[in-house]
């Protein structure tokens, strides 16, 4: 591991890592992206790393993460891994489900 990688890992260790799996432009996927952006801005500003994965473009990642239905939001860090399937409209409910409620 290079020094850079170590530094990066150290810096990001206390962050919340969220992966949102979507299926291209489908209506519920686009709405989930919008909902997640709003949630992060309003409740997790500066504390979260979001990655959006299109299962059309990266099917293998969806398989590896055992994604069944889309949209699915996965919290990988901090442990434990939590997943939330379906809509993300209710921010409070989402945070609670992911174990991130203040």
């Amino acid at each position: 591991m290079t020094q850079f990688d170590r530094a990066q890992r150290a810096a990001s260790s206390d962050r919340i890592h969220l992966h949102l799996y979507v299926a291209g432009l489908t209506p519920k996927s686009t709405r989930a992206v919008a909902d997640l952006n709003r949630l992060c801005e309003e409740h997790l500003a500066g504390r979260c790393c979001v990655e959006i994965i299109d299962i059309y473009q990266q099917p293998q990642r969806a398989v590896d993460a055992q994604i069944i239905a889309v949209p699915t939001l996965v919290k990988t860090e901090p442990a434990p891994t939590m997943r939330l399937i379906g809509k993300l409209t209710e921010s409070g409910q989402v945070l609670k489900s992911l174990g991130l409620a203040a």
Partner: protein, 572 residues
């Protein structure tokens, strides 16, 4: 003891097993909750795609309506799109493809695209379709449209994932057709623009060659004039008392001056074209310019018995400009009038002044200017009536030169004529300047003390004639025809002035100047550069090389006198 110990170890074992069961239970509960969450999300319609494992890898199933955005995208894009099945039957086509082909969409569906290709392209298309099952293909083709026109297009073909429908060669293909009309036209336009740019560059280059050639030509024509002019001055001094000789020498002088003026015009015109002319501006009373201009045209007007009248206001009028250049302009206009006015004709120079401008109008009652020529009279090499005998002579550069010089002064020049044989009027309009604050010291020729002068020039005639002239004025003059001879001469004597031709072979004037400046006993010697081109850069270079002054060939004797008198000559 042993049973006791057995009992003691069994109790913790049970506890551990209980704990393990509890953990297992919690894990099962979590998995169950997750499975329930998925089922719930599906049931209430919160998801719109499912991921399933297929025989050939993961597949995505989108639910009804989820592909709506893609449909909109495909229908609204500017490319034609189609899905081909079997041997090329169109199973789906977007509206754009139909409009590209100028056929109704219904006709397109179920048909084959080969209907819109000629035989050769149809074969290429079939081959491309066959190859597309292995991977992406593209071809450029001419589509033959329903309305009889043809349309250049790039056809790209992609295999749809084989697992999604059927298998092997019958797998559907995705076709995208891009209209190349615009990009072809753009490429043609770009090529045309490029051609024009190249042509323009070639013309500019040719024009630059012409300017360089004119400058060289004028320079070469000018060189022999110095010795001729010097020689006629000497002759006048030697045999000037004989009346017949006097007339002949006067003729030589007149013709030489005429030739010098033509050559100078040519040189000036090429300098204006190359933006390499500089003005020495000062406040001038117009009388000085007018007198000088009139003086230069006296000979030709006398010859043709012209009547010249000059009408000017009595008050002194000033303009800011280059004395010599403005006189040159006026004299060119008068000369032009004389040239195109028959014997005994009349020429009038009228000067009018407003508060801000001064007009110089040159009227004649000569051959006039035709309507079609009038807009072009100031263009280079334009002349009226190019007769075979070229009775009028000249090069057609005088007026072009006037226009260039007057415009450099911030003035304008216009031509007017009622038509052929009805005379012409040329009007120069210049901004009027305020009178100078102090006028002192008239331009009297300086009295020149006897000087020791060395003339260095590889043109033996030029050197000798100038030497003889200067000797005639009482100076002590030596000549050297090469740089080597000059250095040899300078090694043993100490002239006050060295006139140095810049264009010497072997060692040029600049290098020679450097050598001379290195000689300690010549500290006080003044070095005068004599060049053919009176360009600013020549002057600056001469300065840098250690010259004190700079003269342009043919050497103007009053200017040389001023230098020899020790007067400071401005050298730009």
């Amino acid at each position: 003891m042993s049973t006791q110990s057995n009992y003691d170890t069994r109790a913790p074992d049970l506890e551990a097993r209980l704990r393990a069961k509890q953990v297992e239970c919690a894990s099962l509960k979590a998995r169950l909750e997750e499975a329930e969450a998925v089922l719930h999300a599906i049931r209430v319609g919160e998801i719109d795609a499912l991921m399933v494992a297929g025989a050939d890898g993961p597949q995505v199933f989108t639910l009804e309506g989820a592909d709506h955005p893609y449909r909109v995208m495909v229908e609204s894009m500017s490319e034609g799109a189609a899905t081909l099945i079997g041997d090329g039957t169109v199973a789906y086509a977007n509206a754009r493809l139909a409009s590209m082909l100028c056929v109704p969409l219904e006709r397109l569906l179920g048909g084959s695209l080969t209907e819109y290709l000629d035989a050769v392209d149809a074969e290429r298309f079939k081959r491309a379709c066959a190859a597309a099952h292995e991977g992406f293909q593209f071809e450029e083709m001419e589509l033959r449209c329903g309305d009889g026109t043809s349309l250049p297009a790039r056809i790209s073909l992609n295999p749809l994932p084989p697992s999604s429908q059927g298998n092997g060669a019958s797998a559907p293909l995705c076709l995208v057709a891009t209209d190349l009309t615009d990009s072809r036209r753009n490429a043609e336009l770009a090529a045309a623009i490029n051609d024009r740019l190249n042509a323009e560059a070639a013309l500019r280059e040719a024009s630059r060659h012409k300017d360089v050639f004119l400058a060289m030509l004028a320079h070469e024509l000018r060189n022999p004039l110095s010795p001729i002019r010097n020689a006629s001055a000497i002759l006048m001094r030697l045999v000037g008392s004989a009346p017949q000789a006097q007339a002949l020498i006067a003729m030589i002088t007149r013709q030489t001056d005429h030739l010098a003026r033509l050559v100078d015009d040519l040189l000036d015109v090429s300098r204006i074209a190359q933006n390499r002319i500089e003005l020495r501006k000062e406040t001038i009373e117009i009388g000085q310019i007018v007198d000088h201009a009139v003086e230069t045209v006296q000979p030709i007007m006398r010859e043709k018995s012209h009547q010249l009248r000059v009408n000017r206001p009595a008050e002194p009028l000033y303009i800011l400009g280059d004395r010599a250049r403005l006189a040159q302009c006026l004299s060119n206009l008068l000369h032009n009038a004389a040239k195109y006015t028959g014997a005994g004709g009349s020429i009038t120079l009228v000067i009018r002044a407003s508060d801000t401008e001064i007009d110089f109008e040159v009227h004649d009652n000569g051959s006039g200017i035709g309507r079609e020529l009038l807009p072009h009279v100031f263009e280079l090499f334009v002349q009226s009536e190019r007769t075979l005998d070229r009775a009028q002579g000249g090069l057609g550069i005088g007026l072009s030169l006037v226009k260039g010089l007057i415009e450099m002064h911030g003035g304008t020049v216009t031509a007017a004529s009622e038509g052929p044989q009805r005379g012409s009027t040329f009007t120069v309009r210049m901004p009027r300047a305020a009178p100078p604050v102090v006028v002192n010291g008239a331009d009297e020729p300086p009295s020149v003390p006897m000087r020791r002068v060395l003339i260095v020039d590889d043109n033996v005639d030029a050197a000798d004639s100038l030497a003889q002239l200067l000797k005639g004025n009482g100076h002590e003059v030596e000549t050297a025809y090469s740089a080597t001879a000059a250095l040899e001469r300078l090694g043993r004597c100490c002239p006050e002035f060295v006139l140095l031709d810049i264009g010497l072979p072997e060692l040029d004037g600049y290098q020679l100047a450097g050598r001379v400046r290195a000689l300690p006993h010549l500290r006080a010697t003044r070095l005068i550069a004599v060049t053919g081109y009176g360009q600013t850069e020549d002057r600056l270079r001469a300065r840098a090389a250690g010259f004190d002054d700079h003269l342009v060939k043919p050497v103007d004797l009053p200017a040389l006198d001023r230098i020899l008198a020790g007067a400071c000559v401005p050298s730009g």
